[in-house]
């Protein structure tokens, strides 16, 4: 099940135009017309890419007056970053133990 989601996510990000759209939306929400102004392709082509991003859970579209604004959902990218999980776990847990160790060394210095 999770595999399907990951496939979709990687599939969505495998295309350079879609990555560029993601990068653009990470700065601000934008409408389709606005987005197509940034890329050398037609509005329907951009809409198609947006649909793929939407299916992967990366983009949601919300109505804002007459426009439909595209909004990036960065949390959907989390599984991509999880391949570094064993490394992350090692350091995250070590640092949290280091915090506790240092707090015991000098309790006065801790907030």
């Amino acid at each position: 099940m999770a595999e399907t989601g990951l496939d979709r996510l990687f599939g969505a990000l495998a295309d350079p135009t879609r990555r560029a759209i993601v990068a653009r939306l990470s700065q601000a929400d934008a409408g389709v017309i606005e987005l197509s102004g940034h890329f050398p392709m037609s509005q329907p082509a951009i809409s198609k890419h947006l649909r793929v991003l939407e299916l992967a859970g990366l983009v949601t579209r919300e109505r804002d007056g007459r426009r439909r604004l595209c909004h990036l959902t960065p949390a959907a990218l989390q599984p991509v970053s999880e391949w570094v999980w064993p490394y992350r776990r090692f350091w995250a847990e070590s640092f949290s133990r280091l915090d506790e160790h240092l707090a015991r060394l000098d309790p006065g210095a801790q907030p």
Binding site: F10, S81, E93, R97, L98, L102
Partner: protein, 167 residues
């Protein structure tokens, strides 16, 4: 595209196209204190490694050309050994050493840890330089979980596509 942050305050970066991994984490203690915790065996035993691991061997010969040897043991009794040689030591500021995992002998990385004073505490900045991107990925991913291999492959393809796009 920046990946979403994790609540633990740890930043990890694997730049595409560079056989490097970086981490950053703020610690609420002065650089000299953090450096000591990082290099004194009695302190290392208390924190170095994940919560359920025990540091059963911890030898540190802290001088340039001197070596270290660490062996962790997990709850199931499996042991993970690492060793290396110190290349540069600036007490309270910098530590550079080689790093080899017993499970991948002959594969060496160079690890640099900087202890930067920041807001009354320390910003710990680590960099591991590997021989290749594949070696880096094997290291950070643990290099063993079967289910992860497809992910690596797809990620490699993804990163390769990015590199091609730029050149």
């Amino acid at each position: 595209v920046s990946l979403p942050g994790f609540p633990d305050g740890l930043e990890i970066e694997t730049p595409p196209g560079e056989p490097v991994i970086r981490f950053r984490r703020a610690v609420r203690a002065a650089p000299a204190v953090v450096f000591a915790a990082w290099t004194e065996p009695d302190q290392l035993r208390r924190w170095w490694g994940p919560a359920e691991w025990t540091l059963v061997v911890c030898e540190v010969d802290l001088r340039v050309g001197g070596g270290y040897r660490f062996v962790h043991q997990d709850r199931d009794g499996a042991r993970y050994g690492t060793r290396g040689t110190y290349l540069r030591i600036e007490p309270g500021a910098l530590l550079v050493n080689t790093f080899t995992f017993d499970g991948t002998p002959g594969r060496e990385s160079t690890d640099t840890v900087e202890f930067r004073p920041a807001g009354g505490g320390t910003l710990v900045c680590g960099t591991s330089e590997h021989e290749s991107i594949a070696a880096r990925d094997a290291h950070v991913g643990g290099g063993m979980e079967r289910g992860m291999r497809d992910t690596y492959r797809r990620l490699d393809a993804l990163l390769a596509a990015d590199t091609e796009g730029k050149s």
